[in-house]
């Protein structure tokens, strides 16, 4: 096996490609997080809504998305969904970065479905007497959720949400199937251009591990700062 060539990774065109990939991966993860968190909260609230129809919608959303691999979501949003749009909209979308947009849509839905379940179990972990007390004090359903239940649920929900963020970070790699130029894609490109497979994959693996380590570190720090309180 040839010698490990560090210089390839430290400067030059291959270095630039890999770093650009890492940046896009981080952007994908960040954009997804921004969209997925509110969506997850909304779905979680639907899941525990007092109206049966809303509960069914929430349940349908979560199950329909969680039980299909992310890869199939990506393929659908990249190849399938744009064909359903009218011609003029389609043209405009294809001028933009369609790969990244499809990837963010697929990742957002996928991540939100998992996060919704975490938020829901966080809400359910708040003792029901809190809800009853709040209602007895005259707060309505929405006010009870907003002022009493959710603030307490947030503390319980943060650790599982951080671990979902870790999953999200790893899942960005799947965007490579639709050709979004993220880290995994760039590692493949560098590999086929330079035949330096070991170097390019080592870079990608290290980058993925490093970010995973940071996210895990955040989770540990959070649990030290705010240890789980028995309810």
């Amino acid at each position: 096996m040839p010698v490990f060539d560090y210089s390839l990774l430290l400067k030059g065109p291959y270095h630039d490609m890999l770093v650009a990939g890492l940046v896009l991966s981080l952007e994908l993860a960040a954009a997804t997080l921004v969209f997925a968190l509110p969506l997850a909260l909304l779905v979680a609230l639907l899941r525990i809504a007092p109206v049966a129809v809303l509960r069914w919608i929430g349940f349908g959303f979560v199950e329909a998305i969680r039980n299909v691999p992310l890869l199939a979501h990506m393929l659908f949003w990249y190849f399938g969904a744009p064909e359903l749009l009218p011609e003029s909209v389609k043209l405009r979308i294809y001028q933009g970065n369609i790969e990244a947009i499809s990837a963010v849509i697929a990742l957002t839905l996928y991540t939100a479905a998992f996060m919704a379940e975490d938020v829901r179990s966080g809400i359910r972990a708040v003792p029901p007497r809190q809800f009853e007390a709040s209602r007895a004090l005259g707060l309505g359903y929405v006010a009870t959720m907003h002022r009493v239940i959710l603030p307490q649920a947030v503390a319980i929900t943060v650790p599982p949400l951080i671990s979902q963020t870790l999953n999200l970070w790893k899942n960005t790699s799947i965007a490579t199937v639709i050709g979004a130029a993220e880290l995994m894609y760039q590692a493949g490109q560098v590999e086929s251009a330079s035949f330096r497979s070991f170097e390019s994959f080592a870079f990608a693996t290290t980058a993925y591990l490093a970010v995973s380590l940071i996210i895990t570190g955040l989770a540990v720090r959070y649990q030290q700062r705010f240890p789980a309180r028995p309810a």
Binding site: M1, E63, A64, R66, N67, V68, P69, L70, L71, A72, H73, L75, F76, F79, G80, A81, E83, L84, L166, K170, N171, T172, S173, I174, T176, V177, M184, A187, G188, E191, S197, F198, F201, A204, T205, Y208, L209, S212, L213, T216
Partner: protein, 234 residues
């Protein structure tokens, strides 16, 4: 859509099978089952090592598990795809490559399930076994594992669902799994991408939803059994 299904259902299910290698949904299911089956012994061994009293055994396994859990499965697949041939000297086919990556992956995730299962067995059981004169190993073998593994059944099914979903990554290295076959059908039909991929999604959904419902049912039944067992007079 019915016409689509009518024309391509066999291709979708088994790929070019009688005239070529097995593919499609059958390959996906075969891959997931084998991965779980082969991953299971690895998972049990790693899980035992993870709760072992010897740090020399515990630390490397913990590190390995962290590395595998911190990298995307796709990365493991790429490493296996490009490096197995250079290590073993001859070309590994796509199925074996994907299987090895999945076995490593499910082994590590199963290890975490095994560990949780072992921790889930009441402490009194260990103390009882130890005071009856059983050593660490025999306590594990005859007292802890039989209970832990039974309690793990729902988690195992969930892991199967996860593995089933992950086999779809074989698509990237050109394995003719159901996602790959769907793409081929899409290329053949060309005009109905949304339908083709919706059918693909629906197929995964039916399988995975059914299996995870099963897991929930077993889980509920199991807790029920434990509860009623606790009420029984000794």
């Amino acid at each position: 859509m019915t016409e689509l299904i009518h024309t391509y259902w066999l291709y979708f299910l088994v790929g070019p099978y009688p005239n070529g290698p097995l593919g499609g949904l059958a390959l996906t299911l075969l891959l997931a089952s084998l991965a779980l089956l082969l991953g299971m012994p690895i998972g049990v061994l790693l899980g035992i090592a993870r709760v072992s009293p010897y740090p020399a055994l515990r630390w490397p396994v913990t590190a390995l598990m962290f590395i595998v859990r911190g990298t995307p499965l796709l990365m493991v697949v790429f490493w296996a795809y490009f490096f197995l041939p250079s290590v073993t000297g001859h070309k590994t086919d796509k199925f074996t490559t994907m299987l090895i990556a999945l076995v490593i992956f499910s082994g590590v995730y199963l290890a975490e399930i095994v560990r949780a299962g072992i921790h889930g067995v009441p402490k009194g059981q260990v103390e009882c076994a130890r005071s009856l004169g059983l050593g660490h190993w025999r306590t594990l073998r005859f007292v802890i594992l039989p209970q832990a593994l039974r309690a793990m059944l729902p988690s195992l099914l969930n892991q199967f669902v996860l593995t089933l979903k992950e086999t779809s990554l074989g698509y990237i290295i050109g394995l003719t799994d159901v996602a790959f076959i769907a793409t081929q059908i899409n290329t053949l039909v060309f005009t109905k991408p949304a339908e083709v991929y919706a059918i693909l999604g629906l197929t995964y959904f039916l399988l995975c939803f059914g299996l995870s419902r099963c897991a929930q049912w077993i889980d509920r039944r199991h807790t029920h059994v434990i509860k009623s067992a606790r009420h029984d007079p000794i």
